[in-house]
Symmetry: C2
Subunit: 360 residues, 2 copies
């Protein structure tokens, strides 16, 4: 399960995503292309994969597909917005934004191998085209390129101490993301996973790169530790809220609104928040029924109805909704704690709402 969060979300109502955020996204793309250009090509496959992953292989006659293939760059966008809210500009964080986007894409390429996800952004996933092993190698190389991209902060006048701090924050986030992914895979075969275990897992697997976006955007724009911490906490809580809300939609989503089939997660036996919440509150008889259903290789429609009925009896939908809302409210409280008020801060609030629009 890899969240490329923007791709799953509705567009902000009444305006186009690209109208509001387009110039920032173009600046991030330009920085990514500059990173790519400064390297001699040793292994052609590696650079073909990069061009493919960012949609740079598609010509002007395929602009629509290229826009989808490029991804929405939600994380560096958030980083740029935080930088602008704090300092009035975002140009100085672009190398860190490119670094984060490369890091995010490395995790997507590896996760798609492990999840056996055939498609990514409306095209075959990298491993589908180049094989699992070359996808792993290219992911490794893209993480190396992410680290190189970060050092370009020096050329934009960032003091070296701050570059090291940003790099350390990014590496810590990557370590936590890997640990979250390890936990997620471990949960697949674990007998019992509590909702608390699950929140720990997603706060690392999904939350830490979103947290890094806001954290680094702030630390490159101010020395005020309270402001930096508030933005970081805002983003981590937002990431958790996003994932729990995504889980809600995997059980009870409105297919016409989300583009994601309702009950998808149940059918795929995902250990997502709703089923874990139901299991915790279920009677012994219902637990036995759930254990029996989830021990099967595939679930029949009648099994899905049984799971939904147990979820209904345990109030799992309300609990899932409540937890998502709690983290969203916590996120907004941290955002207020920054004490910053301006147009960009309003855009950040809209960005947060946009991420979980499907919810509230």
């Amino acid at each position: 399960m890899s969240s490329d969060m923007s791709d799953k979300s509705d567009k902000p109502s009444g305006t186009s995503f690209n109208t509001i955020f387009g110039p920032i996204i173009m600046a991030i793309d330009a920085e990514l292309r500059a990173v790519r250009q400064e390297h001699a090509e040793i292994a052609p496959i590696f650079w073909q994969v990069i061009d493919y992953q960012f949609g740079w292989d598609l010509g002007p006659d395929q602009a629509e597909l290229a826009a989808k293939a490029a991804g929405k760059k939600a994380r560096p966008l958030l980083m740029a917005l935080v930088a602008k809210a704090v300092s009035g500009d975002y140009q100085h964080v672009l190398p860190a934004g490119a670094s984060l986007e490369l890091l995010h894409n490395f995790t997507l390429i590896h996760d798609d191998v492990m999840d056996k996800s055939l498609e990514r952004r409306h095209r075959p996933a990298v491993w589908t085209k180049w094989g699992a092993y070359q996808a792993i190698n290219c992911g490794d190389g893209i993480y190396a390129l992410s680290n190189i991209a970060m050092t370009r902060l020096l050329e934009r006048g960032t003091p070296a101490e701050k570059v090291v701090r940003a790099a350390r924050t990014m590496s810590q986030a990557c370590l936590w993301t890997a640990e979250g992914q390890i936990l997620d895979m471990d949960f697949e075969t674990r007998e019992t996973v509590t909702t608390a275990d699950y929140i720990t897992m997603i706060s690392h697997k999904t939350g830490t790169l979103i947290e890094a976006a806001a954290h680094i955007g702030a630390l490159l724009s101010t020395d005020d530790a309270t402001v930096i911490d508030a933005y970081a906490q805002f983003a981590r809580n937002l990431g958790i809220a996003f994932q729990v809300r995504d889980d809600f939609l995997g059980a009870w989503g409105d297919e016409t609104r989300t583009g994601k089939s309702a009950t998808t997660d149940i059918r795929e036996k995902k250990k997502a928040f709703p089923i874990l919440a139901a299991f915790e509150k279920a009677t012994e008889a219902d637990r036995a029924a759930l254990r029996h259903i989830y021990a099967q290789d595939t679930l029949a429609d009648s099994d899905i109805q049984t799971v939904l009925a147990i979820m209904a009896r345990t109030g799992a939908a309300a609990q899932t909704d409540t937890i998502a809302k709690q983290y969203y409210d916590a996120a907004l409280a941290h955002l207020d704690r920054t004490g910053i008020q301006n147009d960009t801060q309003t855009l950040i609030r809209e960005f947060a709402a946009f991420l979980i629009r499907r919810a509230y």
Copy 2:
């Protein structure tokens, strides 16, 4: 094919590896343990893998196995030797040494998955114990930890500008290593691979991390660009010489001296230097015979004899030997170019000889 170079080599004659280099290796191990200790454990599996990979899971009653499981730490050892030759001390490079050792181990863990190598350092490889996917995840996390380890240079008083430079050098080496690995896998299915292609591949896959060891050891110890460059070139050439010599032994090695079965590489159809050299110089008839033999799934003993005969007719052994010696001589010329003469520099020369002792 993953080279854990020290494990394959003879010990320096007349003295124990550990007597000469033991204190440095212990200091590197201590720094690695300190990196490990400063992190809260989110995913227990990740930290179990780290402890296993560095032999820290083994008690004092298994000291011999632990020493083998830990690896010989040849790269950070080289880094420390270069630092000491240049500046008289090596304590200041230990965080970079730990970072390099973590990076090297991440590549070993991933490569073992792709090579389906069941064992590493006399024990089951990480993927053999934890599965391929968790091995990939843990490798990713260990690379993140490698990046964090590098930032500890700040705490030893390294100026932040130098930390960024060291980190960039390391990341560039990792990118080149990944590109080398991509080329190596690509060669497996490519119709024609020239010896020039092969040297490009190994100079990146094997050479760049050894180059990074000497490069970073020097740049953290002097501002003299000529000295830094000379050490870097020395190590890259040494890495290439080591790999070509390793290839020689894979075709004509003395099993009793190398611990590696002679003709191993031929039996495994590896596109190593000797067979590529033979193919380039072979007659059309011999090329056809080689193409036929290598198109089979497995090679009979008679096939191996045919390959050895063609290698003999083309002078592949002499050519392989000559190329290895050329790179070794180039390495030593670069070492002289540093202009540094002291006991540690002599040790570096001995280290280089030790790496290819089996050769000359």
